[in-house]
């Protein structure tokens, strides 16, 4: 560690955002990155802890955070990159969209402000790309083993790259036109521009990963075919089954799952579909987003960019703790505090403990939504809190479009899964053992398909570990 008192001498500084007015005009990213000298100072705040909680507990990937902090502080960017790439296949993604549990568990989060780990991560990988240091790293020896990866989201990409580097022949199947899965179709450009994904995919092409897009497994290719032609199959299809809100009026026009909306918007921006094909447009409308999570937030940001006249985001859970301090009240765990995303800053009315009771429409189209306020009470049976309506708290709003961002249940239970006769767990995820193996021999699973919807960084981590497990098994074949 270069500077033992860095954290005492310097304050935490992060990149600023473009002003709201400017950023609403386009779908481009809007964070201004710090220059290298500033980053060096930020890197010096790292204390090189005896137990680095960021690495040990925070980051699911176990990123070697103290090591690259030190390298950045000492100006050894190349070495920072080597350490970074050794644990993370997609740092340019996590550097942009990860909620950074590492920062929440940074030791400085106990009573100070955490090191700006996320922006350092992004800076390292971007500098690496700029310098041309990131090149294909194809295996030196081919093992002759073949692996099919189903789904090209973060888990699939990470696993595919790792498996390829182990020397296996890897084919990634993707049902959409382009690879990337939720990264490409679920996350708006203003958080993750799509060239970022393409750049990484190019490296993977060069390393010899084969991509088959527009292939719907189970329909276009049978499970039997895959099992016959591959030594291993890895399912990384995400947790695409959204949680529904089955109340009166759900079938009305204008009530959509959030993902329908986001996917269409993303395709529109990338030109995959033409403007004429757009079905859901928020322009000039009153928008209701149900669900207070990140997906909801993405809907808010997209709707505002489309020119919505008013955006509401309601959440049935109570309002979390408002927390203005720079430190983490729940260190080293993730704090449950009120978070205001950049999208919220762009204009949105938020409310909590609000239950949507029914959608009211005319001519099959939504016009109004009725709500009731709830309070959360402990149940006597099992102690799990339950919402109880507050009498007389009913209210309603004029609404033109509703997006259900109430979470995801599990992997889509499609024909492919049926054909493979995979065992599922109670929640409906694919059941796996400690070797990432499913109930069907040779078939593995990783990412949200196995864990249920979670963070991108967890998916990458899961994908890497699955690749390791598959490699072990293939070696023993």
């Amino acid at each position: 560690m270069g500077n033992t008192t860095g954290f005492l001498d310097h304050l935490r500084v992060t990149g600023t955002y473009r002003p709201v007015r400017s950023r609403l005009k386009d779908y481009k990213e809007f964070t201004n990155q710090l220059d290298q000298n500033m980053l060096k100072i930020q890197g010096s705040r790292c204390m090189d802890c005896g137990i680095p909680y960021c690495h040990a507990m925070g980051c699911p990937l176990g990123n070697l955070i103290p090591e690259w902090n030190d390298s950045v502080y000492n100006g050894n960017w190349r070495e920072a990159l080597i350490r970074l790439e050794s644990t993370n296949n997609l740092p340019e993604i996590t550097g942009r969209i990860c909620p950074a549990p590492c920062e929440a568990s940074c030791t400085l989060s106990i009573n100070d402000a955490p090191v700006t780990l996320k922006q350092i991560e992004l800076a390292i990988i971007e500098y690496g790309f700029n310098q041309g240091w990131i090149s294909a790293s194809p295996p030196e020896v081919e093992t002759g083993k073949k692996v099919a990866v189903i789904g090209s989201g973060p888990a699939g990409l990470a696993a595919a790259q790792q498996l390829r580097r182990f020397g296996h022949s890897v084919t990634v199947y993707e049902k959409s036109e382009k690879a990337g899965g939720i990264l490409r179709y679920g996350i708006p450009d203003f958080k993750l521009e799509k060239w970022v994904i393409d750049r990484r995919l190019n490296q993977m092409y060069d390393e010899g990963v084969q991509f088959e897009t527009n292939v719907n497994i189970g329909k276009d290719i049978s499970a039997r075919y895959l099992k016959k032609n591959f030594d291993a199959i890895l399912i990384t299809m995400g947790a695409g089954e959204p949680r529904n809100l089955d109340i009166e009026g759900r079938k009305l026009n204008g009530v959509h799952f959030a993902m329908e909306y986001l996917i269409e918007s993303n395709k529109l921006i990338s030109g995959e579909i033409a403007a004429s094909q757009q079905k859901i447009n928020a322009k000039g409308k009153n928008i209701l987003v149900i669900g207070g999570g990140d997906t909801g937030s993405d809907c808010v940001g997209t709707a505002n960019r489309q020119g919505a006249s008013q955006v509401y985001q309601f959440e049935i859970m109570p309002k979390p703790l408002e927390w203005k301090e720079s430190w983490n009240p729940n260190w080293p765990y993730w704090p449950l505090i009120l978070r205001t995303s950049s999208s919220h800053e762009e204009g949105c009315k938020r409310d909590w403990s609000v239950q949507t009771s029914r959608f009211i429409g005319k001519n099959g189209k939504i016009e109004e939504v009725e709500f009731v306020r709830v309070k959360w009470e402990q149940t006597k049976e099992n102690g799990v809190p339950k919402p109880v309506e507050i009498p007389g708290s009913k209210f309603s709003l004029k609404i033109d479009l509703v997006f259900l961002a109430t979470g995801f249940l599990h992997i889509e239970h499609n024909k492919f899964l049926e054909d493979l006769e995979l065992k599922l767990d109670q929640r409906g995820n694919v059941m796996l053992d400690e070797n990432f193996s499913t109930s069907s021999p040779g078939v593995f699973v990783a990412g949200d398909s196995a864990t249920g919807a979670s963070l991108v960084v967890r998916a990458i981590s899961h994908g890497r570990k699955a690749a390791e497990a598959i490699n072990q098994q293939l070696k023993s074949l």
Binding site: M47, D48, G50, I51
Partner: protein
């Protein structure tokens, strides 16, 4: 009660199945002699010898049966008159004086065996041409003995032998051969040392010895009381051993000498002797030479073996003094002012024999001459008196024989490395200069050296750059040799940058090598041994002038001869070779010198077997090469490729070293290791410790070059390499010094290590003589680890190679080394204690105890046997269990005030105890707070630095803990940098802000086990209500040391694990010294139980204690009390930053930074919750195990079992049976402490003093009393002082309130911790430790008014006076011994001369020396100042100038002070010398010099500056000094 023989058998069994090993035993003692210079025989001399012995009795110890001594004996010249009488009685025709030999015999008491033995003896003597004139049963009186001694008593008889008319040296030679032959035959015929032992066999001397305490000697041997039993000298010895096996043969004196000391390098010395046997030839013995082999007898103690070799050298033709100078050479480094001839003598002999290193006072005799010598460090006292009428008395203490003051011609002490001989033939006393001048000039050693020694030109010049030709190969090698990023950046780089080993903080909680999932280097299985209690470690920084890394390598010649060719060897100034050096050695081209390289590689295609085969081949090749005449072998692992993996260098070194030793050709070659494996200090130390002559770490150099290339090193590469080498050199000195070893010559091959996790077969084959007690892996697993690293390295592609493994050994990394504390565990326990949530604690405990995932410790492999459970309500309550818990010692200074006080409050609320650590304690904390809380630490530590250890500190405690070692850095001292010493710390430690504080490695009042007993006695006097405990660190043999501690009357012994915490320690010490407490605790319990010592001493243990399970295991293994260090801190918010040494703790726990301290958020409740949780956890396990209280559970090792369910490839070979052995003692033998130590204050005169003075003390009246005193009256004044402190605190009586006048020889610790208000006046002389810890009192010493000698040229007080004094004054009219005013932090002293190392580590106070000083004056002195009367103006050559400047005394203030002190001195002591100085002030003043510590001067200046500023309301804050 079990019978004694049962006990003995049980011991023998335990030796086979338990952890006890007699090889661990230590002894040291009182030694002395009385001689008539004129060689006149008299019985008085014998009686005098016995008197001396009796007066040294307190230096011995008594065993478990309270009557068996550890051994005593007497060596006298043959009492011819007595034998004449006795032989007449037995009708033996005794030849004339000098023509017969007396063979003293210890034989088996079994008659059959006796007859066989005698038969054997007869036949040997006959075949050697001698004749037995008769046997004489030596009359004995066994009734006086203790049970154990009597049970093991041999049958004792004497045989009178003659070889016709042969006499003189010829007869001695014959007798020598006879004895050696008997010994050899005896071993062949299965006689053990207990069945047949020859205490002496000589025509000049005879030895009477046995398992006695001093007074039993003359009672047991009525011979000694016979008036005809006359001798011209008597040499006596009283043994204090940690000994557990009663052994008559091991009592001293041996045949030629008596030894107070320890040979630390014994293993290496024995091996080297064995190797040399092959070319031992003696002209004197001719063909008989072979009969003298083996030189070393089996099963002897270190002293006994020393005696064997000393005998060989003397018999081989060298004089006794010459032999002694070879074996115990004094230091001859350039920093000593000695004659060039003498220097050459020692250097020449360095090429022949290595020193037998260790603290030693040796009294020796060849029958005609009797003498004594001291080791180079002078770590054992030896005082002598020469009388007017031709008697010389030398002993460990002065005052052991009453001599009229007017009869004294001179008084002195042996200085370090010096010798004294009395020649009874020449009737003269020979002093050191005369002896050594004649010996060192008997041959032209200087010329011989100049002509023959080889100093390769350019060797050790500035090393040139190293090139890496193939960077991929370099990276691959990094993998093959297991380098980690951490090692490169934390270890190697930092060694290059700072020229010293890096430091780190907190304990080692990583997995033991044998439990680690990651391939380990072989070095990691070896743990450094260290000195504790039985001998002192050395300070390798401040006292490095006594240490040396110089050695000769090459071909040794016949030991019994000396020729110029003997030194025709290569001289290495240190053992670290640069790449250039290796090249030069390879191309060496000097007559008689040839060098060849052997490959340290094996073929991996053969698999794990390949390693074993390669080693066998390697040994044979080495043997052949030596036989072909190669005198240098380079073992090199250069040339690793895809098929060839490196043989672990340590394995190869030890294997070859032992192979060559066994073949007796090891001494014919130098063994140079060229390896990529070594990088840290421990690696070098192990290689050298197992026999390497020199080491070249080529990969470390390559790494430095690579770092330089990548611009990560801001220095020239040459400097980097040089620094790196310097760091290794310093580190080696440190590793040697912690065992008390001074020279690399004797360290080499001394095997000062123990193994943890290597199996017996492997150890016996490759590392014979190394202790390894829990089994473990073998050659196959080691090969596996090498191959795994190797194949991993060659499987990686270019990109993967670049990602060097993180390491995770010091700082946690996922997928790297396992650690006991994980992020999750810390998070859980923080929440648990803050929310007072027991179920979270349980989660935490489960996390820590989850051994399937996180196997780090030995106890992780244990499980409890099933027993009937009992309801929880019936178990001892948690409130009671928690009282057995303590917070481990952490000094205020290493942790913040807030943390320190919170711990104290919490522990006091629990009714448990907190430990002050070694930094003193603010007296403010002694008073309760308004809410009833108490910030006082109930345990007060007494550590080597003695910071703030005043009488009042000692009084305010419930326990006094003597810290002998610390788990994180046993055998080492510490240093608190000046910038961290703020005003508060300075106040508490009684020093000056901004001045560096050094804790020396040894306690300067504990150089031996009897010294420890003395300190325990001191502390008991200082506070009779407090219990005294001794803190040890687990290592092989800690049990026997604990036995010594128990005999020394400590109330509790603390066995710390190797993994204990620290605020600042060198990395290699944290990682590689000491062993887990599980082993140490078990060994301690077994040894104490067996020796009937367990019932009088409690055992505490600590080291990474985390959960109730840990406590229960410790309890079952025998501990009664348990310490929590790190865990206490963690419950108060510590997050294991490991930044204590940097002062940047971000949670305010281990920092003095005010900003950071504000962030401390720990509350007493948190710690209380933690302790209560653990206690509750303990209860739950107790319920499950069916124990109602802790007492029932203590020592029930039978409840522990090995958890065979844990499946780990390396743990399969572990064998815990030795740990889990319960000593087979009768069921009523206590397994825990049930009684108390009986302290013997019978010789103490303080009770009388208190009785006489109590009224005036209470009334604050002035009083004077007078009393006689003698050396058995020890620690006088301490109990008296404690009474004063109890009454008045540190704000004591006015000066001179109580005056006590003594006359005689004062015992040790005269006036220790003397409180203000008391004045001691001593007419006579004093022993060691006068004024120890002086706390404001006044001590005046002057010679008896009737004596004639010149005071300033004679020693009148012993060594280590004023050690740790904090205030008061001392006036000594005479010279003091070594280490005067060491660690003085406030006392004023006037003395007329001092020995070596005066005023070392002094931090305050004023000392005036009116005469000569020894060398190394003011080493490590950071505060206070000294005036020295430098008559010869040579003082600057004796002063250690590292931290001080020498100035003339010109300032008026100084002159006034000096003058007034001298005036006081005259007033108190009537010193004529002082009077002379003052009367000639004009002439004498200019010769005075003032010694001023550099840091102190600037600190004073700074304070002065701030004093003036303070009026402007700027306070002194610690930031001032940052």
């Amino acid at each position: 009660m079990q019978s004694i023989s049962d006990q003995l058998n049980c011991r023998k069994r335990l030796r086979e199945t338990g952890l006890y090993d007699p090889a661990f035993e230590h002894d040291s003692c009182g030694v002395g002699f009385v001689v008539n210079v004129n060689g006149e025989h008299s019985h008085q001399i014998v009686t005098d010898g016995i008197t001396v012995l009796k007066n040294l009795a307190h230096r011995g110890a008594i065993g478990g049966d309270s009557r068996t001594g550890d051994g005593a004996g007497i060596l006298v010249s043959i009492p011819h008159k007595f034998f004449q009488k006795e032989c007449n009685k037995n009708s033996i025709a005794l030849p004339q004086e000098g023509s017969y030999g007396v063979l003293m015999l210890f034989l088996s008491r079994e008659e059959n065996r006796q007859t066989q033995a005698k038969k054997l003896i007869n036949s040997v003597i006959l075949s050697e041409g001698g004749k037995i004139l008769g046997y004489r049963d030596v009359p004995v009186f066994p009734e006086c003995l203790g049970d154990m001694a009597r049970q093991s008593m041999p049958y004792i008889c004497q045989a009178i032998i003659s070889f016709g008319s042969t006499s003189g040296n010829k007869l001695e030679h014959k007798l020598y051969i006879v004895r050696k032959c008997i010994e050899r035959q005896a071993r062949i015929h299965q006689f053990t040392i207990d069945d047949l032992y020859i205490p002496s066999c000589s025509s000049k001397t005879v030895v009477y010895k046995g398992m006695f305490v001093a007074p039993q000697l003359e009672e047991f041997y009525p011979d000694l009381n016979d008036p005809d039993f006359e001798s011209c000298f008597s040499l006596v010895h009283q043994r204090y051993s940690t000994n557990t096996f009663p052994s008559w043969p091991l009592a001293q004196p041996f045949r030629y000498m008596a030894h107070n000391g320890e040979i630390n390098t014994l293993r290496g010395n024995i091996n080297k002797m064995t190797a040399r046997e092959k070319n031992i030839h003696s002209k004197l013995f001719g063909d008989d030479t072979e009969k003298l082999l083996p030189v070393v007898e089996k099963n002897l103690s270190d002293s006994g073996i020393f005696d064997n070799v000393f005998e060989l050298l003397c018999m081989g033709g060298r004089s006794a003094e010459h032999s002694m100078m070879m074996m115990v050479p004094e230091t001859f480094g350039q920093r000593y002012h000695i004659s060039e001839d003498k220097r050459s003598f020692f250097e020449f002999h360095a090429a022949i024999m290595e020193p037998w290193d260790g603290p030693a006072a040796i009294a020796f005799t060849d029958g005609i001459r009797i003498g004594a010598t001291l080791d180079r460090n002078g770590l054992r006292p030896a005082r002598y008196v020469i009388t007017q009428n031709g008697k010389v008395v030398l002993a460990s203490e002065t005052g052991v024989l009453d001599i009229a003051p007017e009869d004294i011609q001179s008084k002195g002490r042996l200085a370090p490395g010096k010798m004294l001989i009395i020649d009874t033939e020449k009737k003269r006393v020979l002093f050191d200069n005369e002896i050594k001048a004649s010996v060192s000039r008997q041959k032209p050693y200087r010329r011989w050296l100049e002509k023959n020694r080889i100093e390769l030109k350019g060797l050790f010049g500035i090393p040139g750059p190293v090139d890496i030709n193939d960077s991929n190969h370099h990276l691959r090698l990094l993998n093959v040799f297991g380098y980690t990023l951490e090692e490169i950046s934390v270890v190697i780089k930092s060694m290059a940058e700072n020229a010293q080993e890096p430091v780190l903080s907190m304990g080692n909680d990583a997995a033991l090598a044998v439990l680690s999932d990651r391939p380990q280097l072989l070095y990691n299985y070896f743990k450094q041994l260290f000195a504790q209690v039985t001998n002192p470690p050395i300070d390798p920084y401040r006292e490095n002038l006594v240490m040396s890394l110089m050695s000769f390598i090459g071909r040794e010649k016949n030991l019994l001869d000396e020729t110029p060719e003997h030194c025709h060897q290569i001289k290495l100034t240190h053992p670290v070779l640069s790449n250039d050096d290796i090249i030069k050695l390879r191309n060496i081209d000097t007559e008689g010198y040839r060098c060849c390289t052997l490959g340290l590689l094996f073929d991996i295609s053969v698999g794990e077997k390949g390693l074993e085969t390669a080693l066998i081949e390697l040994c044979k090749t080495a043997e052949n090469k030596i036989n072909e005449g190669y005198s240098l072998l380079i073992l090199s692992d250069r040339g690793v490729d895809k098929t060839k993996a490196p043989i672990p260098a340590l394995l190869a070194t030890s294997t070859i070293n032992h192979y060559l030793t066994k073949a007796k050709i090891r001494h014919l070659t130098g063994l140079i290791i060229e390896t990529g494996e070594v990088r840290d200090v421990h690696h070098f130390a192990t290689l050298i410790g197992y026999g390497a002559s020199a080491v070249n770490p080529y990969m470390a150099f390559e790494i430095l070059f690579d770092l330089k290339k990548k611009c990560k090193l801001d220095m020239r590469i040459e400097t980097a390499v040089e620094h790196y080498i310097t760091a290794v050199k310093k580190g080696l000195l440190k590793v040697m010094s912690k065992m008390g070893i001074s020279t690399i010559r004797s360290y080499r091959g001394a095997q000062i290590f123990e193994a943890v996790g290597l199996n017996e077969q492997f150890i016996n084959k490759y590392f014979p003589g190394t202790s390894s007690r829990i089994g473990g892996i073998g050659i196959q697993e080691i090969a596996h680890e090498v191959i795994e690293r190797h194949s991993d390295a060659f499987a990686k592609n270019e990109n993967e190679l670049k990602v060097i493994d993180s390491g995770g050994n010091f700082h946690f990394r996922r997928n790297s080394e396992k650690h006991l504390y994980t992020a999750e565990a810390i998070a859980l326990i923080h929440r648990a204690v803050r929310e007072k949530n027991y179920s979270l604690y349980k989660e935490y405990a489960q996390h820590i105890n989850n051994t399937s995932k996180n196997l780090c410790t030995l106890r992780g492999l244990f499980k409890f046997r099933k027993r009937e459970s009992i309801p929880l309500e019936e178990i001892e309550p948690a409130e009671s269990i928690v009282k057995r818990f303590v917070s481990s010692a952490m000094s205020f200074g290493s942790i913040s005030k807030e943390a320190h006080e919170t711990i104290a409050i919490a522990m006091n609320r629990l009714g448990a105890m907190s430990n002050s650590g070694e930094g003193g304690e603010d007296e403010e904390r002694y008073n309760p707070l308004s809410n009833g809380d108490l910030k006082k630490s109930m345990i007060k530590q007494v550590a080597s630095g003695r910071f703030g250890v005043t009488c009042n500190y000692l009084v305010n405690s419930a326990e006094l803990q003597i810290k002998m070692a610390q788990g994180a850095k046993p055998g080492e001292g510490g240093q608190l940098a000046g910038l961290k010493v703020d005003e508060t710390i300075a106040r508490v430690r009684l020093s000056t802000p901004g001045v560096t504080l050094i804790s020396p490695p040894p306690h300067h009042d504990i150089y031996s086990i009897e010294d420890l007993a003395q300190l325990i006695f001191d502390l008991k006097n200082a506070n009779r209500d407090a219990r005294v405990s001794v803190k040890l660190v687990a290592e092989a043999g800690v049990g026997t040391i604990a036995a010594g501690v128990a005999k020394g009357k400590a109330d509790m012994v603390l066995i710390s694990g190797h993994d204990g915490g620290t605020g600042n320690s060198p990395i290699s010490s944290i990682k590689y010294a000491g062993i887990p407490w599980e082993i140490g605790l078990a060994e301690t319990q077994q040894t104490l139980v067996l020796n009937n010592l367990r019932d009088r001493i409690r055992i505490q243990t600590d080291g990474q204690m985390r959960t109730g399970r840990d406590i229960v295991i410790a309890s079952l293994l025998g501990a009664e009390e348990f310490g929590f260090g790190t865990a206490s801190l963690v419950s108060l918010g510590c997050v294991m930053m490991r930044k204590c040494h940097l002062n940047t703790c971000p949670v305010g726990v281990a920092t003095q930074d005010k900003k950071l301290r504000r962030k401390f958020c720990g509350k007493p409740e948190h710690l209380i919750n933690f302790m209560m949780f653990v206690a509750q956890d303990v209860r739950e396990i107790m319920a499950q195990l069916g124990f109602r209280n802790m007492d029932e559970m203590t020592g029930r090792v039978d409840i522990l079992d090995v958890n065979s369910a844990i499946d780990h490839w390396k743990t399969k070979g572990l064998d815990f049976s030795r740990i889990l052995t319960k000593p087979a003692v009768s069921p009523d033998t206590p397994l825990r402490c049930t009684g108390k130590q009986e302290h013997d204050f019978s010789m103490s005169i303080d009770n009388e003093l208190i009785r006489k003075l109590i009224v005036s003390m209470d009334n604050k009246e002035k009083t004077t009393i007078s009393m006689p005193i003698r050396n058995c009256n020890r620690t006088v004044g301490t109990a008296l002082s404690s009474e004063i402190s109890r009454r008045y605190g540190s704000n004591s009586l006015p000066h001179d309130s109580i005056r006590c006048k003594f006359k005689g020889s004062a015992g040790q610790s005269f006036g220790a911790f003397l409180a203000k208000g008391i004045t001691f006046e001593l007419e006579g002389d004093a022993n060691d430790y006068l004024g120890k810890g002086l706390s404001g009192g006044k001590i005046i010493v002057f010679p008896d008014k009737k004596s004639h000698f010149r005071s300033h040229e004679n020693i009148i007080t012993g060594n280590v006076n004023l050690f740790g004094a904090t205030g008061g004054s001392v006036f000594i009219n005479g010279m003091a011994g070594e280490r005067f005013a060491v660690r003085n932090s406030g006392a004023t002293a006037v003395v007329e001369g001092v020995g070596d190392h005066g005023c070392e580590y002094m931090t305050g106070g004023v000392v005036v020396v009116l005469g000569r000083t020894g060398v190394n004056f003011a080493a490590g002195m950071s505060g206070g100042f000294v005036f020295v009367f430098d008559k010869d103006q040579l003082f600057d050559t004796k002063c250690n100038l590292e931290m001080v400047d020498i100035e003339p005394v010109t300032e008026k203030k100084d002159i006034t002070l000096l003058k007034s002190l001298i005036k006081q001195h005259i007033k108190y002591t009537k010193s004529s010398h002082a009077l002379y100085l003052l009367e000639n002030w004009q002439e004498t003043l200019p010769l005075f010099v003032k010694i001023m510590p550099i840091e102190y001067r600037s600190a004073l200046a700074r304070m002065k500056q701030f004093e003036s500023k303070e009026t402007e309301e700027i306070t002194i804050t610690e930031e001032v000094f940052r």
